[in-house]
């Protein structure tokens, strides 16, 4: 299939809608181990990205679209999610360089590049109770499935599954990064809010791939 700029605008609108629906829940998760604003930051960032991307004309190449999303997200939010997702979108832009539309193969590489960007900006490894615990297994699962010839929607479904498992696993971890890292054992028993919002975004991307394919 071919993914156009219009499709990507719908992707960002879909992400913003799904994050908005979970805004208060994300704040509650963050309240348990952080400062309680993660839902606000993610909602503000995704809305700003969707709006900026939505205003682009249809001729805008995907690489520019992702860079616009990065800047909009970053400047609306700051916080820690701002640099992390801005870097994800900038890496997506680099992965989409010189394309006018994206193929399924491009989309898998865009997805994996987002995960790499988040990991590098946050200097986090899996197992440290961060959004990397959702993003890294999700990217690995998508790349593995793609490598064995599975169609794009199935690859992203497997990514969502891996992200959920990774997110659930954060419940039993102590945190090595971010505000929760000063809690020690008191962080155990709580899901990492950054991993939870990552699952929502990855699921929105999978939903987009399914809908686009069908």
């Amino acid at each position: 299939m071919t993914i156009t700029t219009k499709d990507l605008q719908q992707l960002f609108a879909g992400i913003a809608e799904d994050i908005a629906a979970e805004r208060d829940h994300l704040c509650e998760l963050d309240g348990a181990i952080g400062d309680g604003d993660h839902g606000l930051a993610m909602d503000g960032g995704c809305q700003a990205a969707a709006k900026a991307v939505g205003e682009l004309d249809m001729e805008t190449p995907p690489t520019l679209l992702f860079n616009v999303a990065a800047k909009a997200f970053l400047n609306a939010v700051g916080a820690s999610s701002g640099p992390l997702y801005a870097t994800a979108f900038m890496r997506a832009a680099a992965a989409a360089k010189d394309r006018q539309t994206l193929t399924d193969d491009d989309f898998v590489r865009v997805f994996a590049a987002m995960a790499t960007g988040i990991q590098e900006r946050g200097k986090a490894e899996a197992g440290e109770k961060t959004m990397v615990d959702a993003w890294k297994p999700a990217a690995d699962a998508a790349l593995d499935a793609w490598g064995t010839g599975k169609p794009l929607p199935e690859c992203l479904d497997m990514a969502v599954h891996a992200a959920r498992v990774g997110c659930d696993a954060t419940k039993d971890m102590t945190a090595a990064k971010g505000r929760a890292s000063r809690l020690g054992d008191r962080a155990i028993g709580h899901i990492d809010p950054g991993a939870a919002s990552a699952v929502i975004i990855i699921a929105a991307m999978a939903k987009f791939a399914r809908r686009h394919d069908g």
Partner: protein, 334 residues
Amino acid sequence: MKTKKLINSGADAVDEMLQGILAAHPRHLYAVEDMPRAIIARNGPRKGKVGLVIGGGSGHEPTFLGFVGKGLADAAAIGNVFASPPPDPIIACAKAVDGGAGVLFMYGNYAGDVMNFDMAAEMLALDEIEVRTVLTTDDVASVPADQRDRRRGVAGNVFIFKAAGAACDLLYSFDDVERAARHANARTYTMGVALSPCSLPQTLRPNFLIGEDEMEIGMGIHGEPGMAREPLRSADAVTDELMDSMLREMKAAPGDRVAVLVNSLGSTPLMELYIMMRRVKSRLDDAGLVIHTSLVGNYCTSLEMAGASITVMHLDDELQRLIDHPCDCAMFAR
């Protein structure tokens, strides 16, 4: 139940506050054109002086922008409530205060702030503005002393920024400003207690739950959980617990001088702060320490959170001189 607040809308709260601050303090502050969250000191920055840029999330007023002015910080980059500012206003601040002698970034040690300020520094390097960073890490409760550089920065910012700002104003070299700033941070200790939560303007809901007869020792200034949830005790008992931890780490000798800050987290009134100050004085007297200067009031708040923090800066001759140096800021003067 929703928390009652005098706001117009949660989304506009930060920008409308900044408009009010500029309306109240036009002699001290202005915003960079088209960058309303980059707040600059009118009389601070000048050629040949190291520029000091501070910043962080809103909701801690008068931290950060209340400490922007001649003799203290040259600019503050302002974020959403409890959220680091993005790189753009930080960059605008740095460019506005760059006097060719370097720009120092100082802010509390939080992952989000570090990422945004570092991104700003990377972009400023492309414009050949040299940026260095000193993180504040005064919160004794956040991490054990052997990992001091992982601690949070909290109310001690007031003294640490004050010392660094004075060093800039006295035209110290970039190296010396950085050294003085690190020295000030290393000798500043803060510990707090929270009694009731605050609500973000966008949610109007308490950001943590605490029982009516409980307190949280060591809670962060964004409501991050602290060291322990305990039954509420008397002002003297709480003050003792905070002072014990700090004095143990400070290792001061009788006759040493200190600067003291008893700070409200927002809604705890002066009456209670002065009751704590009374106990702080007697504890310092017992240890043979001399209070050179003291501040009591709202200096680093957490919206309307109830609770207080105590900061002790262990002075030496240099820090005493820097703390005594005059400054003239919108919400703080000496």
